[in-house]
Every structure is written in C-alpha cells, then in structure tokens.
Symmetry: C2
C-alpha cells in the first residue's frame, strides 16, 4: 500500500496545511520517507464535524453490521501483511516477532469486541414495568439503556504502535461502544499509523458507514492534540503516554465549557514483592527468579507500561543471593534499541538521577547495544527506609532500569505501599508459608493498584473479560475503568431512561419484542435473552 503522507479525514486523504514531519528509525537515527503533512486547527474541525455527523447512524447500528465492521478492520490489518511489520519495525526499533505478537493482540481485541457487540450486555438494559395498581401511587413504565457518549478523541502510545495505537484498545472499545473516533496519529510511527488507518477506512467504506466514523490526523500534540480535546464535538478522550502529556489533556478537558472524561494511562512502577518463602529453594531456583525478573525489566527494552520498576527483596542471606543473581543476570544483557532518541535520552537522565540519589548502588549493568539509542540495562539497589523517605526513588524510569529494595518486615512493605502513588500492578512472589503475610499486604495493594499478580510477572497483559489495566492516579486519570479488556467499553457509555414511551418511539434494545435478543434486567433481576421469546416484559 502506498503511503501518502497525509491525514485521512472522513475517508479522504487531506494534505495538511501546517508543517511537515518525518518518522525516524531509532536504530540508525535516520529519517524515514514520506514526509507527513500536519493539519491546522481549521482542518481538524473537518474531522470532528464529520465525527459528530456520523454519530446518529453509527450509534444506532444493528449489532450484526456493527460487529462485522470491527471484524473487517481486523481482517484488513492482517491483509496489510509484512509491509505493516516492516514499517512498524523501522519506526519503533521493535523486533518483528514482538510486532507480530502485537498485531495478533490488535486483531484479537477487535474480534473480542465484535463478540461483545453481538452479545450486547454492554447496552445495560433495565426495565421496571408499570405497576398501575401500586399504592399509594401507581408506577409508570421506565426503561434504561446505555448510549454511546459521542465522538471520541484517541491518542496512541509510542510503545505499542499497533495494539495501543490507531486501531488499538481505545479505538476498538470506542468503536464497539458506537462512538466515532478521531485519532491523533503518534509522531513516532506515522507510517504505521497511516497503514492501519487505511485498513479502518476501507472497512468503513465496505460497510457503507458514514465516513466520519473514523479520521486520522497528523499534527503536534501540544497544539492539534490540545485543540482536539477542546473541540466541543468531542465527548471523551482515550490516551496512553507520559504523565505530563496526560495531565495536560486532563486539564484541558476539565476547563472546557462542557468538561468531558479523559481516560489516560500514564505511568507505573509495577512493584514486585518477593517474600521469604519464594527464596527457600535451591540456589538454582533463586537464579531462575532473578532471570525472570531481569527478563521482565529488559523485555521490549523495558518500554512496557507494566515493566517492574521496583523489586522488594528480603534482608538476609537468601535476599543477598537474589540481589547477586539479579546483578549477574542484568550484567549479561545487551541494550536494545529504544523507541525514539528522545525516549532514550529520558531513560539516561532518569537512570542518572537514580544513580545520584543517596544510598543507591548499582547491582548490575549490562552493555549498550550495537545500534543507536540502546543504552545498557541497569538495576539499582537501596534499602526500604531510603525508599520510604526519598520521593526521587519513586520516579518512573521508562526503559530497562529497575530498583531492588531490601526490607525486613511486613510492616515496612505496608508502609512503602502506602507511600507509593497509584500503580497499574503489584506482583507477589511467594510460597504457602507467606500467605499470612501476603494477606496483610493485599488490602493495602488494592488501594494502590488495578491488578494483583501472584507468582507471575506483570508484563504480558491478557486481553479478556476479567483484565484490569488501570489503577489509581497517576497510573491512570480514572481508576473506575480499564483500558484493556472488555470492561473498557463502559468508558464510552452513559445511561438514558425512557419513561412511558409508546412502542413506536422505543429504541430497539428496549422494545418488548427484544429484537436484539439482549439479556435484560427486569425489576432488578437479569432475565436471559432465552426467555424473551415467550415473555412480554410488560405483561
């Protein structure tokens, strides 16, 4: 497929009237063709106006067509073939195998949401039938459903050019909810963005949908991104990226004449707590634990939202062995290309700041990679008292760095947890003898994280129905949600009640005949759609 270097607004390539920008290959620091033309605020308005115009038809699409559309996007992404993997690799420095896995995740979550659309529980139908004989006052018929919020602005992540970008989790869940999407392309992978954007646009056309259902715009985040969030046509925002950028969008959204929700996934230290029982085995078992930790720290060059930035290890001999094994394991690692020159520079300054903090040592340091922007993975060490007292040790270092913290008591772990900011995950490495201690820590962790993991690592986020990829601020802007998994669709919905409407005016999900065969909550109890054929809810 030919890369045009232009935005895709309501199905058409649009030459931006602003400056131009290029992607860069972070392995070589060389720029990639073509140049991308950036839109002006006036051109952006065409995208948001088209999204607003698309809402009426897209938000009321029948479930079969709606689900088929999501599946067609997945098919079209697969049809891009190796071109997509090659371009994404050039723009991100990520290896092909990682990108192939990410593509599977991207298409898998589109198909998962297609299933959610067909199943229909997200429509949240509740019916309280009329009770004309009720005393002292009759009850009128009231029916509730969830409707899509309206056009959604989505900002992709640098570290997942496929699964958290153009057709990633935020776009998939917003489209599944019935919200048109205006996607602000990520500057670090413009060509990848255009390829996937073309795949979405093709599905929009093939299904005969309003072209405003999806637009992809290129422009600076600080102006076009901010203007997008401030646009009155936009009713919600999905974002994955840095804390500073996320907070800037939150402020803009809150300052609008009509404030709107922002779902920003921003940062996380993902602490791992190693309990004494996990170190009771052989030296070889301790080595395996250390190797897995280092693999989680260095995988994808440490550029995962869920990379473990902290590991709490017990004081004493077994903990000493673990620390030594961690040092050996990381020393054997070579740096991998980071996503951009800027991200590599941020990693270096973050690692330097941590190294300069009091009572912080270097447990082990690998070697720089052969490419550009591939600094040496490093794991630091400190004591829990220093961690509790020094906020510098709580800063996220995005990339292959982590901090091993030695502790003596469960009370210290609880205090350290209470001092932490909100996180996406916490992981516990433990054996049965540690359960009583862990049971004390878990309630403290629930207040700080969105996911608790036992004897596993936080990386590798499963896309399913039970996943929570979220957590208290500043891990995310809104702890009431998740950005991964089917619950993410709820972010883009709001309830509306219909009182005493005649059948002719009731939306399909609320009609007595239940044409969409939805499970519905009748008088507070869910009635399976299987029961619909024989029962009229108002009977």
């Amino acid at each position: 497929m030919t890369l045009t270097g232009h935005s895709l607004i309501a199905g058409q390539p649009v030459v931006g009237n602003g400056k131009t920008a290029h992607g860069f290959n972070p392995a070589t620091n060389e720029r990639l063709e073509p140049a991308y033309t950036l839109v002006t605020e006036g051109q952006l308005k065409a995208a948001t106006a088209a999204a607003a115009a698309a809402y009426a038809s897209f938000s009321t699409l029948d479930p079969g067509t709606h689900a088929g559309f999501l599946e067609a996007i997945a098919d079209n992404i697969e049809a891009l073939g190796e071109e997509l993997i090659i371009r994404a690799g050039q723009e991100s420095g990520l290896p092909a195998a990682r990108l192939q896995g990410e593509r599977s995740r991207t298409t898998g979550q589109l198909r998962l949401f297609a299933g959610v659309v067909r199943q229909g529980d997200f429509r949240g139908v509740r019916i309280d039938p009329a009770l004309p004989e009720r005393m002292p006052m009759p009850r009128v018929d009231i029916r509730q459903r969830q409707i899509p919020l309206g056009p959604v602005a989505v900002f992709g992540a640098s570290n997942f050019p496929l699964a958290f970008s153009t057709a990633g989790g935020d776009t998939a869940s917003a489209l599944a909810a019935g919200c048109p999407v205006v996607f602000k392309a990520h500057n670090a992978h413009p060509g990848t963005g255009e390829l996937v954007g073309q795949a979405i646009v093709k599905a929009v056309k093939d299904f005969g949908l309003h072209p405003g259902v999806f637009s992809l715009v290129y422009g600076p985040g600080s102006s076009i991104g901010q203007a997008l969030v401030a646009d009155p046509a936009i009713k919600a925002v999905g974002f994955t990226g840095s804390q500073s950028a996320g907070i800037a969008l939150m402020r803009t959204a809150a300052a609008r004449p009509e404030p709107i929700p922002v779902y920003a996934e921003m940062s996380s230290l993902n602490p791992v707590f190693v309990f004494p029982g996990a170190l009771n085995g052989s030296a070889e078992q301790i080595d395996v634990l250390a190797q897995r930790y280092v693999a989680a720290v260095t995988g994808s060059s440490g550029q995962l939202c869920t990379s473990p930035g902290l590991l709490f290890a017990p004081a004493g001999e077994a903990g000493d062995k673990l620390a030594a094994a961690v040092g050996r394991a990381v020393s054997a690692c070579a740096g991998q290309t980071m996503l951009t020159e800027g991200i590599a520079a941020s990693w270096t300054s973050g690692a330097d700041a941590l190294a300069a903090a009091g009572n912080v040592s270097v447990l082990g340091k690998g070697t720089p990679g052969a490419t550009e922007n591939a600094p040496a993975p490093t794991i630091f060490g400190t004591g829990i008292g220093d961690f509790i007292d020094n906020h510098v040790l709580h800063a996220e270092i995005f990339g292959a760095a982590s901090l091993v913290i030695r502790y003596s008591t469960a009370d210290e772990l609880i205090e350290a947890t209470q001092r932490m900011e909100g996180q996406l995950t916490a992981s516990l490495q433990l054996a049965e003898e540690d359960y009583p201690t862990a049971a004390r820590l878990v309630p403290a962790l629930e207040q700080k994280v969105g996911r608790i993991i036992v004897n596993g690592w936080p990386t590798g986020v499963e896309v399913g129905h039970a996943m929570v990829h979220g957590g208290p601020f500043p891990a995310t802007s809104d702890a009431r949600t998740t950005s991964v998994g089917t619950l993410a669709i709820n972010r883009f919905l709001r309830p509306v009640a219909y009182q005493n409407l005649p059948p002719e005016l009731l939306p399909a999900p609320l009609q007595d005949t239940n044409p969409w065969r939805l499970n519905r909550r009748i008088d507070g109890s869910v009635e399976s759609s299987d029961a619909t054929e024989t029962a009229e809810v108002t009977a």
Copy 2:
C-alpha cells in the same frame, strides 16, 4: 431526641471550635434553637481520618450484615416519628404531607439498596479461568471484582432535607457500595440533619461497625466543604445543589494531587414539548394539560430539580388556548414558603431578569403567600426564535416560575434542543399522530438529557432500577451516572483484577465456592448463582 447542636464525628458529639449558626424558619424568618457549633479544619480531619480507618472493615462486610445495617438506618429514621417531620417542616417550610412522602422515599431507597447489597451484582465479578493448554501461550486465571472507592464526602440538598440529605440517595448508595461517609450538614436544616445523623450513628453502634463509617459535620461550605473535598482521605464526592457550588467543588477535586470523581447534580430546565396532537381534544382537555403543567411548576414551591422550567407550545389557535389556560391556572395559585430567605431572593432576581428580557411577556401571575418568602408563582411567554437567540432565557429560575415558548416547526424544536445545555429530563406531550415528529426529536434529546418522558411530568422521580436522574453537564458533573436508583451505587466502585491468586488469598466474592452466592461472568457469560453449587469455575 435531644438536639445537641454539635457535629457527630465517629459516633461522638463534638463541640465545634468555630463560629455558631442557627437554622431559620423561612415562613417567619425566625431563628431556630439550638445554635450549631461549626467545626474547624482540624476537627474535620478527625472525621476523615476515622472514615479512612473504617474502610478496611466496612468495605469487606458480609452482605447480610451490610444490608441489615442499611435497613436499621431506615428503621431508626422511622422511629424518630413526628419529631423529624415537625423539625424538617420548621426548617424548610415544606408541608408535612410532602415531608412524610419524602421520608418514605428515604427509607424506601435505603431498603432498596439493602436488596442490592444482598443480591450482589454490583460487585461485578468476572472470572476468566486459566487455560493451561492454550496455544501459543497458556492463559492464567484472572478474576475481577468492583471494590469501594474509599471514604465519600456527601453534601445534602436544601430542597430534599430527607431524601437528598443526611441519609439520602448519595449517602445510601455510598454506604451500600461499602464506602464510609463524611456528611457535610446543610446549613438550611441543621436540626433535621442531626436527627437523621443520630439515626445513622445508632445503626453503626448497634451493628458493631467501626464508628468512622459515618460522621456529620457542621461548617461553612466555602471553607469546611472545600477542605472536605480537598482532604486526601476522601476518594469521591456526592453533591446536590447550585451550579456555582457544584462547579467550585469540581475544580477543587480536579486540582488535588490525586484528582477524585465528583458527582454533582446541579441544575435543569426540564423542557416540556407539547405536540399538536396533544391539543386536538376538547377545551377541557387543554385545561387539564395546563393545570397539570402549572401543578408541576408550583408543587413544592417549584423547588424540585425536575420542575419544568420550559414548555414548548405550538403556534396557532390550540396553542393560544393552552397559553391562556396556563395563564388562568397560575393566576389562581398562591405562593408557598420557599426553603430559605436567600433562595426566595434568588427566585425574585431570576424572575425579574426574565421579565426584563426582550420579547418576554407574563402569561399569568398568582398571588404571594401569607407567609414570608412566598413569592407569587409566575409563568412567562416568548417565541422560539427569541429562545434560540437569547441565552438569558436559558437560565434556571429555582422556584415557581416557567417559560412558555411558542414554536411552528419540528426543526425549530430540534434547533432549540441543540442550543440547550444538558438537562435532567425532557417531556413530550403527544398523541399517536405526533409519533413521526417525536421520533425526529428523541435522538436530539438523548444528547441533552438523562430521562425522556412521554405524556407525563418530570416531577416525582421513581426510585427503582431503571431510573436515571442525571444528564450532560451542567445538569450534572458526570453524565455517566445517575444519583437516583440502584445504578447510583456504581459511582462509588472501581475494578481490581486478581491474577493467579491461591484460594487462601482470594476475596470472598471471587472464591470458587462462591460463598456469597453471586451471579458471576465466566469467560464473558453471566452464570447465575444457582449454578454455583454444582460447578467449580476452575474445573
């Protein structure tokens, strides 16, 4: 019961170290005893700290005890007997019959939420069992539930001293979610607040709960209210009141180091759209419609969130008859005491501003009431072009005033709807011949309101499972929710996922044995609790 004039902090009366304040009888402008001592910010900290300390035990209470506690609050409120009705009447000017109805609603919603707690669907259990054989990667066991956000600050409404105040909808739904509550007493009904507060405190004691589960504090909204929302221990806010106060709380919450959700129900014009078919009957039917409209405008002195502030009537002869009948009906009304001297003064200045606007006439005006603060109900008239163009006509006048707007076409109604801000409700008066026109208006209304009513009036909000008392900003601060009905519990919850936890560490709702007999979503499909006895979910 003796009124102490003091705050109730963690079960104990606390003499405030600030100034004192009195309730006032708005029918006479006389002050009521006792004086209420106002807390300082330091004293407020004792309440929020106690709420934080109560969270661990209260948030994990077994459903039976939890539901029994809510029912005990209802019982204790009823046990207050006539003393509560008398005091609330003195402080609000509301008639006894209205307050008795409001008490029933208050106890009814506490008992409704007790049922929700026993039923348990709000815990949102989702289980994706492990798939160890899955290719290319095994799936780990992941389980999700909703946990309470933490201590909630609740601000009561002046216009519902019972149902939207101390033990009102926000308190009931927060307590049902498992969140301790710090209630900022409303200055307009301090004695009513204390009586109900004592009823809650007694239930806390009788059930042996942590005393921090509920506190009631007296203090100025502009200092103590703001300090409460800014307190790090508080994790969400429920508010019903004016737009200016609600927006001030939203700003404070957004500016915290950890921003928190604010659920503010603030203002609404509640437009009523009269279609031509509704006026096709006899002159008597038109009179009945006019009388019902005027009753909705003047009931409770117009001090309901859902009082209709706008009525769109067709141009032409039938509409002329309706306008004349409205004028006659309101002219026959006498003013009723408003809630406070300040509210009555605001009503007067709002009505004066509307009267002074261009092309606004007075359709009819009643007579002032015999008491203080009982201005004459007034209904104004204008044309739809003026409404569309003049923002002054969109201002809420809290109290017995309304504006009749004459229109000619459905397009005008759609344009007027699009120009409106968010509202709680919209009502349609229509006959079968109007369905095609109404079908065009309904999608526009869905974008602006939380509830659509046909051939009824927006007042009299049913407390059930399907009700939505919410709507886009500025009707509320968060259109994704409702403040009335069982869905309101969702405001105070957030999801947490548990990955690969051993049974010994899993919270009760997620255990294989399903000890709380919850309906659970297994691999995306809800499995009724009836199925639990024979199936192990991980089998």
